[in-house]
Each structure stands twice: as C-alpha cells, then as structure tokens.
Symmetry: C2
C-alpha cells in the first residue's frame, strides 16, 4: 500500500519523461533488441544517463545491479506505472477538425487509449462515421461514459463551451480531461486536468525565432 502511494509521489519533470522512455523502448523492442543500458537509452534521448537512472529510481527495481535493463520487462513496468497496462477507455468530445484529427490518429488506440465514443453538438456532424464509429449526439454523453467506463475525455470543443462540458464530464464520473480548448479548466482535485495550449507552443517558438533573427542581425553588423 505504501508502495502505491510512493509510486505517485514523483516530480512532474520525471513523469513527462516516462512516455519518451516508453516510446524509445518500444522502438527497440520492435527491432528485436533485448537489453539496453542506461547510457545507450539516455544517449538516444539526448539526456544524461544519471538522470534516467535517477528517474527510474523513484520506482525501483527495473534491473539488478551490474546488468543492463531488459527491454521487454522495462516496457511492461513503464506501462504499469503510466497506467496503460490495461486499455484506458477514452472519449472525444468535439468532432471538429481537431477532434477528427485525434480520432484518426491510430496510435492512440495502440498506445492504450481506445476511443469508446465521439461526440458533437452539431446535428450536421452527428451520424458521420470516423474510423468506423459514428459521431454521437451530446445527449448520449453520460450514458456512454457510464456504459463504456470511459476514464479519459479529450476535449476539443470551443472555449465558450469547454467548462460546461467539463462539468458534465466530471459529474458523469470521468477521471481525466485532456483539454484542447484555449482556456484553463477548473475541476475538483479528484479529476486530473491537462490543458494543452497550442498558442503557448507557437509563441514560445516565436520567442526563440525572434532571438535567432536578432543574433543574426547582430553578427551581420560586425
């Protein structure tokens, strides 16, 4: 019991690296590599080996000292830790371009997030088939969430409706919300929310672009 609790008390920075480790390891697995050392794995991810071992140390016991990691075991362990050892039923709310883009992204299913429902309020979209399943009316939301035991909702509705929909999802028993609407959602602490902001991404890129251009100008002046 204590161990479970400890497993969750991990820095965010580490949690964000776990998927990267998993991805690389699956790649290695696919080409038949059996063992990998912390140095090899870290190098391919452009981080320090000590950091990787440090990260793994939060969970402990991925290898025995002296031996490199066993790729397959490590993949299994990471899937357990991330919580995708069992598929996590997922729904997409909002079947606009972004919702469709995500629904069509087949890797989602492979990575452990089968799409159990796609919803939209627009009657023109309801009924349209996306990757073999129909877009459903928002009315069916609670019913499907309950029946399919949906745990995670991917929210791609307009900002104006995002909080409203989120409240419905929370009431329906959703545990995690992946929000693409350009606004920060509020939810009780029993629901995990991740706000994905495209604007943040492109603006932080723009900042760096501006710096590069300035430096180029400076060097020209010399």
């Amino acid at each position: 019991m204590r161990k479970n609790r400890r497993t969750c008390d991990v820095p965010d920075a580490t949690v964000l690296r776990l998927p990267l480790y998993l991805e690389k390891l699956k790649l290695l697995q696919a080409i038949g590599v059996e063992d990998v050392s912390s140095r090899q794995l870290a190098e391919s991810l452009d981080i320090k080996a000590s950091q990787l071992r440090h990260d793994f140390h939060y969970f402990g016991g991925f290898s025995r000292p002296g031996r490199p990691y066993h790729v397959q075991k490590l993949v299994g362990a990471l899937e357990q830790i991330i919580g995708i050892a069992e598929p996590v039923p997922t729904a997409i709310i909002g079947a606009g371009h972004l919702g469709q883009a995500i629904a069509n992204y087949q890797n989602l299913e492979i990575q452990g997030f089968p799409i159990k429902g796609i919803f939209d309020a627009n009657p023109k979209l309801v009924g349209v088939e996306i990757r073999g399943q129909p877009v459903r009316d928002m009315d069916e939301l609670e019913e499907v969430v309950l029946k399919e035991k949906v745990k995670i909702a991917i929210l791609t509705v307009p900002a104006a409706q995002a909080q409203l929909v989120a409240d419905r999802l929370v009431k329906a028993g959703i545990v995690g919300i992946f929000n693409f609407a350009p606004m920060d959602l509020k939810a009780p602490p029993t629901v995990a929310v991740r706000n994905e902001r495209m604007a943040v991404g492109i603006m932080s890129l723009s900042f760096k672009v501006k710096c590069i251009l300035q430096n180029m100008d400076l060097e020209e002046d010399i």
Copy 2:
C-alpha cells in the same frame, strides 16, 4: 544591443508563461480594464504574484514602482518580447486532419501567425481550398517560403517524412519549426525546433488518473 541579448537569456519556464500572461491581458483589454496589479493577474492564472514580477523582471520596466501595470502597454511589451508585434509569416506542411484543424484555427492569424501556404504531397489534397487558400504541391514549398518570407513552419506530416521535410525547410531558410510528428527532429542551432508530443500529454494525464484511482481504492479499503 546588449539589452537585446539579455532579453533572450531567459529561462524556458518563464518563456512558457509569457503567452499565458498575454492571453489574460488581452482578455482584460477586451473588456476595457486599464490597470492590473501583479496580484490580480497572478491570481487569475493560479500562480504567485512574486513569480509574475520575477518573470517580468527579466525584461524590466513594465511599470514604475508603486503603480500597477497598464494593460495596454503590457500587451504591447509582451508582443514585442514574444516577437509577434509584426505578423510572423507561417506555413503548414501536411494538410491531413491535423493540418486542416490548425489551418482552420482562426486565432492563429489573430495572434500574429498568418498562414502563407498549406502544402501536401498527396495529389488528392492538392487544390482543395482551406479557409480561402488552396493546398499546394510540395514542389512549390521553397518558392513560397522565399517569396512570402515564411519564418515558421508547422509540420503535420507522418513521422517517416518529417525529418526529410524539415531538412528542406531548413535549406529554404525557415527559422522555426513546430513539429507535430511523433519524433524528435534534428536541426542546426540556427533553427528553433519545438516538438509537440500528444502522446506525452495523454500519458502524463494517464499517470495522474491511475494515481487518483488508486487513492480512491485505498480510501474505500479503510
């Protein structure tokens, strides 16, 4: 000159918050608010006021001591810093669902990133109109980048082609690449790259979901 250089020597963590500040400030501006204190602004963003002042301190001189910030001035200053005071010509490479979703996201243009070209290798997509402009063939890429002075490219092509396209973009003189392909791009240091990984987002969410579910189980057991 020195000041410019200093302006770029800012922690990533701070840079990532600048767009959030800007967004909130624009909202305030839209409803006619003229002044805002660090405490008010920080509270609405769920961060500490001291952190906000600390962030602004890297650039300096947004207000004079004793007086709150002037919303309009602050918006202008942040736009300068982020590099969107002048529009930044942008292109989208890959007109699949994700590319179309981004192209249709009108806020991009408003926020300073006008789309000067949408490209795809698929002949079936070439010519299709998206928000008033045709999808172009990849052959035209270099020409358009040069003519329209495109600075940032949004990459939504399959992982297998991402690096190839990126190399072409770099050669063509692109300064920033916003990469949505599930792989880390390599580029020379004169080109800023931001790799956006959806898998990382949903998996880190899954980790938290798992922790919440475990804690709920634990409490039930008591």
